[in-house]
Symmetry: C2
């Protein structure tokens, strides 16, 4: 005799909660997102929530780790241009890719950890560090490609790879804020255009 309730693939509640956290926090921010909301969006009961996570803060921190993994895959692994041989070409393709992502509803391309750290940097070291880890991982990964491009082509003004990688992060995060305030991603694409222009000038043959 089959059980009444569906077989419910186990361990899925956990990842559904993380997905829901990504979705809701990107849309409303961390504080404005309640545990009940996350549970409802994930289709999971509150008891289940606190079975998997000791607190809302703990879920948010795990969701930050997950966000890093997701970005690594979506931005540094899956796209075909990540296998382009020339590192400068790869870097420019990276910028173009980030610009192309800036389309559709704002909450679909903005950054989970960037949104979260704004509200939590002063009140939760756990969340601040989780956000920092994600941003740092992205920047250090990107710095590898930049470093290779510098080695191959040189760069003006003694710019360092890691510093430029953080600058890329900065322009993206700032672009998200402008896109939010205008409810329109075009301004963010424009700002990333400036970034591309800057990088190309840095690598131009003097």
């Amino acid at each position: 005799m089959p059980s009444r309730t569906a077989p419910t693939p186990r361990l899925s509640a956990r990842s559904k909660l993380i997905d829901a956290a990504h979705l809701l926090v990107r849309r409303q921010g961390y504080s404005a997102t309640s545990v009940d909301q996350i549970c409802a969006a994930a289709g999971v009961s509150k008891g289940s929530f606190f079975h998997h996570f000791p607190s809302k803060e703990a879920l948010a921190a795990v969701a930050a780790e997950q966000w890093t993994a997701r970005a690594e895959e979506l931005i540094f692994t899956l796209p075909p241009w990540t296998r382009v041989a020339d590192p400068l070409e790869r870097l420019i393709a990276h910028i173009d890719f980030r610009a192309a992502m800036l389309d559709g509803p704002v909450e679909a391309f903005t950054c989970y950890v960037g949104t979260m750290v704004q509200e939590s940097f002063a009140t939760s070291e756990v969340l601040r560090k989780a956000s920092d880890a994600s941003i740092t991982a992205y920047s250090e990964r990107l710095a590898q490609d930049i470093e290779a491009a510098i080695t191959l082509y040189g760069i003006k003004h003694g710019v360092t790879a890691l510093s430029l990688a953080y600058h890329v992060q900065s322009v993206l995060q700032g672009g998200f804020i402008l896109a939010k305030s205008k409810a329109d991603p075009s301004i963010a694409r424009e700002t990333v255009g400036h970034l591309k222009c800057y990088i190309k000038m840095l690598f131009e043959r003097g």
Copy 2:
């Protein structure tokens, strides 16, 4: 006979509430800041709060206007370099000034409206528009100086004044996020350094 209670300069509760909102929202974000907290920080009762403002949202919107006025004065009027004759020199001085501001505790130099819009863009059109108005006002004001510099010296790649002004905003806002995640302003100064480098290259004689 003097009255027992102090003369209490009237209308001060209103501005004290606005100041408290700036302080607390920059530190904790909008949602995490309660009306009670704002009242306590301002030394004002809750009854008084709702006498001056119909809602928390309304205070936040008025505080955004006030933030614009404050920025206009602090950044575009008071500093002596705003009277430098050469517009390009003035623009570079502006960037240097913004970089120099990035010092001390993070919540002391970050942006009230940038923080607020992150959480409210999807849930409150009132706050989104109030934030946008502030960011737009800053950018359009800065674009005047950039326009003058372009007229005088020309610029590479057909960059427009307003677009570059928004790029400046973007880098600043992004720098704030990095500073928050690292609990250290130095990374933000570095990113503004890249911005300065970009602008100088754009205006270099070809």
